[in-house]
Every structure is written in structure tokens, then in C-alpha cells.
């Protein structure tokens, strides 16, 4: 099936490319024939797969799985994007899990990974498509807290069970059936605590921010500020918007070393792409003593921790988050109760426990 779809994609391209009207249509018809046949089947006979829906009553928070009553369970998955290293393994995990669920007959269909292009506008368009496709449950990883919110509310209004993953949108608590993510405020606190531990005497530190307005950026900064508030021995030299970009953080590192010299003790980053780049810049300048730390647990920072080039990084278990969302879906299908909020904890990774997380 998967191959057939790939084939169809290419075929579709082929038709347009050649503008071969007649023969294109001829090849298309037989290939597509099984599809409508399949859609007619469930209308007649109740499919065995969503058998659990009949027993949808027992637990308190249990809700029906087949919201639109078309006799099929369809899952939607709106990614944040397909390109960044944090989201790639999450998407890959989702792909594997849902393909398997479909094979096992647990669900009837799923949309595949829909590309959100880190663009709230596109995410709203993808939400439209999930509604059109009669999805019963949709997992969404929002690109923006406010701007992606219409995607969530739109689907919720259409009766879809929306499971928000990774970061919340404004009305997630109100309209989504569940949120599976991590507490970014806690991550910010972890960052601060690590630095306080490493530099007991205190000193100056710089803060490299993600794209301003992203909820992860806001909340991690909040956790950081909350903790540092109680430690007057630390002085912030500024919050620098680095758009999650490693090279910009490295520039901040070199600039701040120039400006503050030995007084600069730490660089705290909203993600660890930035912290690893900042650390490398410090190390290259002979300032291995500067403590750089960030959030995510991407491959490269973990390797640096293992090699002793960087002290620590805070791991966000993205795959764990999406797996939590899947277990919510499982629970809904099984008619069981589930948690409204599933917090997947952050982990401080140091040389001692890095082997556990490094693939």
C-alpha cells in the first residue's frame, strides 16, 4: 500500500509533466479502483476493528473513538515540520507506530505525516484536510502557541479528539482531549540548577533565546528566570534572540567572551543545538570553563557530553511524548480512561548517564 501511494505520487507527477491526457487516465483507473471498493465495504458491514467502540461507556473520562460515526477509525497527524533534527525522530516514530496499527487492524486509516512547514497557516490548512478526511483523532505538534491555535479549535469544533503534543496552544487546556508534552518551565529550572551547581561562586551569564513567541522559548525562559531570581550571585548580561539557530548562539558566545572576558561564567540556551555551538566556540577560544547548557538532547550535544566537551544537556523525550499520545489514542479506542495531561519528564544528561540516551 505504501509503495502504491509512492507510485501514485510519482504517477501523478508524471501525468502533469507529460500532459499525456489519454494514456495517463487509462493507467490511473485500475490502480485506483480498489480504493472506492474499500470505502463502500464498511458502510454495509460493521468492521471488526473498532469493536471496542460498542463498549465505549465504562470509565469516567472514556469517550467514543468513532466521533463521526462512519464506522471507521481514522487518525490524523499534523507535524510541526519534517526538517529539524528534534522533530525527525518523532515523525519517524509516529510513522512506524501508525503503519503498524493500521496493519494490525487497530485503526482503519491514518493521514500519514502531514507537513506543517513550521507555518501556522499551513497547519490550519492541514486541519481542514483532517476534517475533510473524517479523522476521528488528530495529533498535532503546534508551530506557534497563538497562531496555530485555530487549527486546534477548528478540529475540536468539528468534534475531533485533538491531542496536542510537545507544546500547548492557547486553548489546548480548554478544547483538546489531552496534552502530551513536557513542562518547559521545569526544563528552564533544570538549566539554571545545573549552572548554579557548576559555578558555586556565581558570576555573569548570557541567555540565548529561541524564536521569540514560541511557547517553549517563553516557558523555558520563565523557569530560568524563576530560579535565578533566588540567586543574586548570578548576573544576566542579556537575553539574546537566536531563533533556535546554532550559528547565532556561537556568535553571541564569542561576542560575550570579548566583552566580559573571565567574568563570563555560563551561557544558557533555550535548545542544545545552540548550547553545543556556544560551547564549541568557548572551547575553541580556550574557555572550556564556561558552562553552556541547553534543552532537547539532540545527537550532537549528547556526543559532546560523552566526549567531555560539554558538561550536560537537558533531554526532552520527543518520541516519549508522541508515544504518550498514542497510548491516549489506544485508551480511547479501548474505551478506557486516560490522563488529560501527560507530562513526559525532562532528564538532565551528564557524562554519568549519557550512554543510556546516545544511540
Amino acid at each position: 500500500m505504501k509503495n502504491m501511494k509512492k507510485g501514485l505520487a510519482l504517477l501523478l507527477a508524471g501525468i502533469m509533466v507529460l500532459g499525456m491526457t489519454a494514456c495517463g487516465a487509462k493507467e490511473e483507473t485500475p490502480a485506483a479502483a480498489p480504493e472506492p471498493a474499500k470505502t463502500e465495504a464498511p458502510a454495509k458491514a460493521e468492521t471488526p476493528a473498532p469493536a471496542a467502540t460498542d463498549a465505549a461507556a465504562p470509565a469516567d473520562s472514556a469517550i467514543p473513538a468513532d466521533v463521526n460515526g462512519d464506522g471507521k477509525i481514522t487518525i490524523g497527524y499534523i507535524s510541526k515540520n519534517l526538517v529539524d533534527p528534534f522533530h525527525a525522530p518523532i515523525n519517524a516514530a509516529a510513522q512506524e507506530i501508525f503503519d503498524q496499527m493500521k496493519k494490525d487492524g487497530k485503526i482503519d486509516d491514518w493521514t500519514g505525516i502531514l507537513d506543517g512547514e513550521t507555518d501556522p497557516n499551513k497547519q490550519i490548512d492541514r486541519a481542514d484536510e483532517c476534517i475533510t478526511k473524517n479523522c476521528d483523532m488528530v495529533i498535532i505538534l503546534p508551530a506557534e502557541a497563538t497562531a496555530s491555535d485555530p487549527a486546534v479549535t477548528k478540529m475540536a469544533d468539528a468534534g475531533i479528539h485533538v491531542i496536542v503534543v510537545n507544546s500547548k496552544t492557547d486553548s489546548t487546556d480548554k478544547v483538546a482531549v489531552s496534552y502530551c508534552g513536557s513542562d518547559d518551565v521545569y526544563a528552564g529550572e533544570l538549566l539554571a540548577k545545573w549552572v548554579i551547581e557548576q559555578v558555586p561562586d556565581g558570576g555573569k551569564y548570557a541567555h540565548c533565546q529561541g524564536i521569540i513567541g514560541n511557547s517553549a522559548q517563553i516557558q523555558r525562559g520563565e523557569g530560568l528566570a524563576n530560579t535565578m531570581k533566588d540567586h543574586p550571585e548570578f548576573e544576566s548580561v542579556g537575553d539574546f534572540p537566536c531563533d533556535w539557530a546554532a550559528d547565532k548562539a556561537a556568535n553571541v558566545a564569542t561576542d560575550m567572551m570579548n566583552k566580559y572576558g573571565d567574568d563570563l561564567k555560563a551561557i544558557i540556551c533555550d535548545n542544545d543545538d545552540m548550547s553545543s555551538a556556544a560551547q564549541r566556540a568557548c572551547n575553541d577560544a580556550g574557555r572550556k570553563d564556561i558552562v553552556c547548557v541547553g534543552v532537547d538532547g539532540n545527537q550532537k550535544p549528547l556526543e559532546m557530553v560523552k566526549a567531555g566537551e560539554m558538561g550536560a544537556t537537558v533531554l526532552q523525550d520527543g518520541v516519549g511524548q508522541v508515544k504518550a499520545a498514542v497510548s491516549v489514542i489506544d485508551a480511547i479506542i479501548a474505551g478506557q480512561s486516560f490522563e488529560k495531561e501527560n507530562i513526559v519528564p525532562f532528564v538532565l544528561v551528564t557524562k554519568d548517564n549519557v550512554d543510556q540516551y546516545l544511540k
Binding site: K6, L8, L10, M16, T21, W110, T132, I211, G213, D243
Partner: protein
């Protein structure tokens, strides 16, 4: 130049075939696409889905019309994506932070984007600079300005009046479709029924001949870029109403889809050739590519490839049909 020999294609006079395909070739592609996707995915056929797609393409549609005018003069406008961000930030700042009436704020935002469009045209026409260079630079300036205005923050737009620009309906038709329709009609009339439209074709087709026929190259180009700015502004308003959030990082790469829609619609990069109905079809082809492939469940990784292949294929088709001779 000798008199051309008549050649036959599929038993039809070559010239007539070319004229027919030049006008309707892309419609054939669109039609096949709709048929194929409908067969593969029944959900695609619903009226609701078509309304969805039309609403979705309204943003790219506005941008594409402006882009079409600019490309037809022989230029390009890379600043449209940044214009979306600027308009969005102005709206956020004025409506949410200053409490200005939403319609007045829209007017201010449109003025700003139109002014930047004018600036693009001015630099291109007055100093004969490459449009690519000019708009590449103003794009940075405009986005920078958006960042300054918003302070880099996302400003939520809670004004319901404003959100209604996207969500309200005229009968069963969402407002963005109505706006798209009205703008389509206006742009169509302007390009095909007024002398300004003719001048755009002439300047793009052969600038020396146009000048020698008394056409003002300056005002024609300035006009095209200014309108592109205005239309990008309208697109920005719809975008902002849709996401109900103002931020400076939106609209990145939106010029690509606009250029793609123009090119699919038979707009020649050499300038001087374009039709608005063609661009409309181009816009919908782009919309259906996204929508159709998602509904069918084609993996996103292959969607990008397919989109690229469709555009190259359509342009190739266009070139074969309108082959340069002599």
C-alpha cells in the same frame, strides 16, 4: 523572415492548436488532476472540501496576482512574504496594543505594504536595477521593520471583528473566497480591459517597442509593483485573521508558491505573456496539489517532489507549445 509553413498537429492546424493550448492547456491539467484525485479519494469530492481549498488558496491567490503583474513586466517580487509579516505586525500592534478600530488598522497596514510596493517599483524603474536584487533587499528591510514593530513577539489578535474577516460567511461562502473573487475580477479587468494592462504586456514584451509607442516604462513598472504590494497586504490581512496572531516570522517562502502559480498559469518569465484565468488555474492547481495529496495520504516527503515535477512539467509544456522561433 520567410513565410511560415503550415504544420499539422493531431490533424489540427498547428497555429490554432497552439493558440488553444496556450489558453486552455493548463485547464486540461487541472481537470485531469481533479478527476484523478476524486477517483482516489471520495472525501475530495465534497463541496465542503472545494470550499476549503478555495479558502486556503485565497492567500496565495492575492500574492500570485501581484506577482503575475510584476513578472509580466519582466521582473519579480521577492518581498511579498515579508510584506505578509509587516502587515501582520502592524495589525497586531495597532489593534491589540493601541486599540485602534480593526478597519482603520487594515487601512494603515495596506498603506504600508502599498508604499513598499511603490518603493520596489521606483528602484527598479528609476535606477534600472535588477528586480531580483531590489526585492531581495527590500524583503530584508520589510521583515526587519516587522520585527521592530512587533519587538519579535507574537501578538495575539483577540478582536472578534477582525477575526471575522476570515471566519464570517456570505451565505455558505467564507469571506476570503468572496474577497478572492472580487480581487480576481478587478485584476482581470485591469490586465485585460484597460490600457494599463496593455502597457504591462507591452513593457514586458518589448520594452523598446513600448517606449517607442509612447508607453511610460517608469509608471507601468511602478504601477505593477505597487499593486503587488497592495495585494500582498490584503493577503497579509487574511493570513493574520486566519491565525489570529501577529508575528514577524510568517510568510517565509511564500513567494515560491506565488511564482509557481503564475508559471503554471502560463505567465512567461521572459515577460509580456500572461492571463488572469491562467493564473487562477495555477493557484488552484497548487491548492489541489497540497489538498489532494494530503487526502490521498501521499507521504509529505514525496509531495515536495511531486510539486516540483508538476511545475517543471507545466512550464516545459508551455515552452513546447509556445516555442520561440526565428
Amino acid at each position: 523572415m520567410a513565410v511560415k509553413e503550415e504544420k499539422k498537429v493531431l490533424g489540427v492546424d498547428r497555429d490554432k492548436f497552439r493558440m488553444f493550448m496556450g489558453k486552455y492547456g493548463i485547464g486540461v491539467v487541472l481537470f485531469i488532476m481533479i478527476i484523478v484525485i476524486s477517483i482516489m479519494e471520495p472525501a475530495f469530492r465534497s463541496a465542503k472540501n472545494f470550499i476549503n481549498v478555495a479558502t486556503q488558496v485565497s492567500i496565495n491567490g492575492m500574492i500570485s496576482y501581484g506577482m503575475c503583474l510584476v513578472i509580466t513586466t519582466g521582473g519579480i517580487d521577492l518581498s511579498v512574504g515579508a510584506q505578509l509579516a509587516l502587515v501582520s505586525c502592524i495589525l497586531g500592534q495597532f489593534i491589540t496594543n493601541f486599540g485602534v478600530n480593526p478597519f482603520l488598522a487594515c487601512l494603515i497596514a495596506l498603506l504600508a505594504s502599498t508604499a513598499f510596493g511603490f518603493l520596489n517599483g521606483f528602484f527598479v524603474a528609476r535606477f534600472n536595477m535588477f528586480p531580483f536584487v531590489v526585492t531581495l533587499s527590500t524583503q530584508l528591510i520589510i521583515r526587519g521593520l516587522a520585527q521592530v514593530i512587533s519587538g519579535g513577539n507574537a501578538i495575539p489578535l483577540t478582536s472578534e471583528t477582525f477575526q471575522h474577516i476570515y471566519s464570517s460567511k456570505v451565505g455558505p461562502i467564507p469571506l476570503p473566497i468572496v474577497i478572492l473573487f472580487v480581487v480576481t475580477v478587478i485584476v482581470y479587468i485591469m490586465l485585460h480591459w484597460t490600457k494599463f494592462g496593455r502597457y504591462i504586456f507591452a513593457v514586458g514584451g518589448n520594452v523598446h517597442a513600448a517606449i517607442a509607442s509612447g508607453v511610460s516604462e517608469f509608471w507601468t513598472k511602478v504601477g505593477a509593483y505597487t499593486i503587488s504590494g497592495l495585494l500582498a497586504g490584503i493577503a497579509g490581512i487574511i493570513f493574520t485573521a486566519k491565525t489570529s496572531s501577529a508575528q514577524s516570522n510568517i510568510g517565509i517562502g511564500y513567494e515560491t508558491d506565488a511564482v509557481a502559480a503564475c508559471v503554471l498559469g502560463g505567465t512567461s518569465f521572459a515577460g509580456g505573456v500572461a492571463t488572469i484565468p491562467g493564473v487562477v488555474m495555477g493557484i488552484f492547481i497548487i491548492g489541489f496539489i497540497y489538498n489532494g495529496m494530503n487526502l490521498i495520504g501521499i507521504e509529505s516527503y514525496y509531495q515536495s517532489m511531486t510539486k516540483g515535477a508538476v511545475i517543471i512539467g507545466a512550464v516545459l509544456l508551455d515552452m513546447v507549445l509556445n516555442r520561440k522561433k526565428g
